[in-house]
């Protein structure tokens, strides 16, 4: 077998799967004659999605979700990285913080949604807060691992040449931690969207979560499917964007990171 067809098949295969799923969906609505209220057929869903997109309402909701997720993500990542850097550089910080961080890690963050809502209030800020909390741990643990795995000889060499703490941090520790840091960043992207949606499900003003919740409650399945599809596209696009960033920034790392990480 030559390589070219195999490569083409490899690229086409997932689309074939998706097409087969849509076909099965269409057949199911045809054969069983399910009412649109329970399972709308693909064409109806697509029309509905186009209408929702055209009216701009769906995009407005998506923008609300994405901006809350993005803000919280930046906040959470910043906090997590600062924490990891402090613990990697200072023995004292490590001794003081290791147990509180472990305790924090054992809290299922999305369970805090109603509490955050009480504390922070109605609207986007509560989404931002929950997203930040949800993003902290994956970035923290991966940055810490990365920052610690630095080559001690290289640090010694820099120090012998008179480099200061900061110089060593940026020139030696950061590049060596970058691949691992990106593993954390990629996991956190999904957690960010997840937390934003959960907050909107619990108490939101606008956003895809609110839309999904409201449409489900009124059995407007075509509306639900459209919003879920858009959320799926956003999730996949955000992850792809981050992977592109990683290839640019961590260009010396040739192979994809092998870590198997699952997300909810």
């Amino acid at each position: 077998m030559s390589l070219a067809p195999a490569g083409a098949l490899r690229v086409a295969a997932p689309f074939v799967t998706v097409a087969a799923l849509v076909l099965a969906w269409w057949l199911a609505t045809r054969v069983f004659g399910t009412p649109t209220m329970l399972l709308p057929d693909p064409a109806t869903t697509l029309q509905r999605l186009a209408a929702d997109l055209g009216s701009g309402e769906l995009l407005r909701d998506a923008l609300a979700t994405v901006s809350a997720a993005a803000l919280g993500y930046v906040l959470g990542v910043g906090l997590a990285f600062a924490l990891a850097a402090a613990m990697a550089l200072s023995r004292l910080a490590e001794r003081l913080l290791v147990v509180p961080v472990m305790a924090f890690q054992s809290i299922p963050k999305v369970a805090l949604a109603p509490l955050i809502y009480l504390w922070v209030g109605f609207g986007m800020q509560s989404s931002v807060a929950l997203v930040a909390l949800a993003c902290i741990y994956p970035v923290f643990v991966n940055s810490l691992t990365g920052l610690r795995a630095v080559d001690a000889n290289l640090v010694d060499l820099y120090r012998a040449c008179g480099a200061g703490r900061w110089r060593i941090f940026w020139a030696v520790r950061m590049p060596s931690a970058a691949p691992q840091l990106f593993v954390g960043l990629e996991i956190s992207v999904v957690f960010a969207l997840l937390a934003a949606v959960v907050m909107e499900l619990v108490a939101g003003e606008r956003g895809l979560g609110v839309r999904i919740q409201a449409a489900s409650a009124t059995l407007d399945m075509a509306g639900v499917f459209g919003a879920v599809a858009l959320l799926a596209v956003i999730g996949i696009a955000c992850s792809a964007l981050l992977r592109a960033f990683r290839r640019r920034l961590v260009f010396w790392q040739r192979e994809e990171p092998t870590a198997v990480e699952a997300t909810a």
Partner: protein, 252 residues
């Protein structure tokens, strides 16, 4: 040993400081009970919930749904993973799709699941199973593929059946991966149940947290969250214990 003692001392100091800060915030800092309850309030709520028994039905409801969802999701995940590894064509068609689904926040489907399956146990179990499926599936694929090539070839040379190979070579190789995934799946299944309970439920810890937030009973919310944390930690410890016994050849 001395290092461990120092870490212990440091942690004790920081935990003590946090506790003091909490105590101070609720007493001198002027935080109201309906915003931040004092440690004593939370202790009281925990006592009422655990020893008074008002939390028991909710712990049972959440625990039952999480365990059922975990078993279902992990079981189907491992079976699907094994199938994908054994049939290379499936791998080509399914693996990229499942990997792409990894980037989608799947809990967003929880309201849809509630609309289809109703308010009860079924939607909680389904949501939990859906979340627990993915780590199990991916670990099964990665782990079963990680089997030693030489072993696989030896068994093939002895014309062992694919099932025999799966059981004797691939599964032991996958075991460490699977247990790591199980650890993650425990937390995910709890998250799935809690989110499902946030949306619509009449019992469960998620229901308690949500319902008490409407009554500004923050002490009981804290108690329910603490119990939830304890359930997650206990589940994780149980997985580790099981791992210690099952994957006995891999210590440390």
């Amino acid at each position: 040993m001395k290092d461990a003692a120092k870490t212990m001392l440091g942690s004790t100091c920081s935990l003590l400081a946090l506790g003091l800060l909490w105590w101070w915030a609720t007493h001198a800092g002027g935080f109201d009970k309906s915003v931040l309850p004092s440690p004593a309030d939370v202790g009281g709520a925990l006592q009422a919930g655990l020893f008074g028994g008002s939390l028991y039905p909710h712990i049972l409801a959440t625990g039952r749904a999480a365990i059922a969802g975990l078993a279902l999701g992990v079981g189907i995940g491992i079976a699907a993973g094994a199938l994908v590894v054994l049939v290379p064509l499936l791998q080509l068609f399914l693996l990229p799709v499942v990997t792409a689904m990894q980037s989608i926040p799947k809990v967003a489907l929880a309201p849809l699941i509630v609309a289809y399956l109703g308010f009860g146990l079924a939607s909680k179990v389904f949501t939990a199973a859906m979340l627990a499926f993915f780590p199990a599936f991916l670990a099964a694929v990665a782990g079963l593929r990680a089997a030693d090539r030489a072993h696989l070839e030896l068994l093939r040379a002895c014309s062992a059946s694919p099932l025999h190979t799966l059981w004797n070579v691939r599964l032991p190789a996958a075991a460490p991966y699977l247990f790591a995934a199980l650890q993650v799946a425990v937390v995910f299944s709890l998250i799935g149940v809690v989110v499902s309970e946030f949306i619509a439920a009449t019992e469960g810890l998620g229901y308690v947290i949500k319902a008490r937030s409407l009554e500004l009973d923050v002490s009981m919310m804290f108690a329910a969250i603490l119990v939830l944390c304890a359930m997650g930690v206990a589940g994780g410890l149980m997985v580790r214990l099981l791992q210690h016994h099952v994957v006995f050849w891999r210590r440390g």
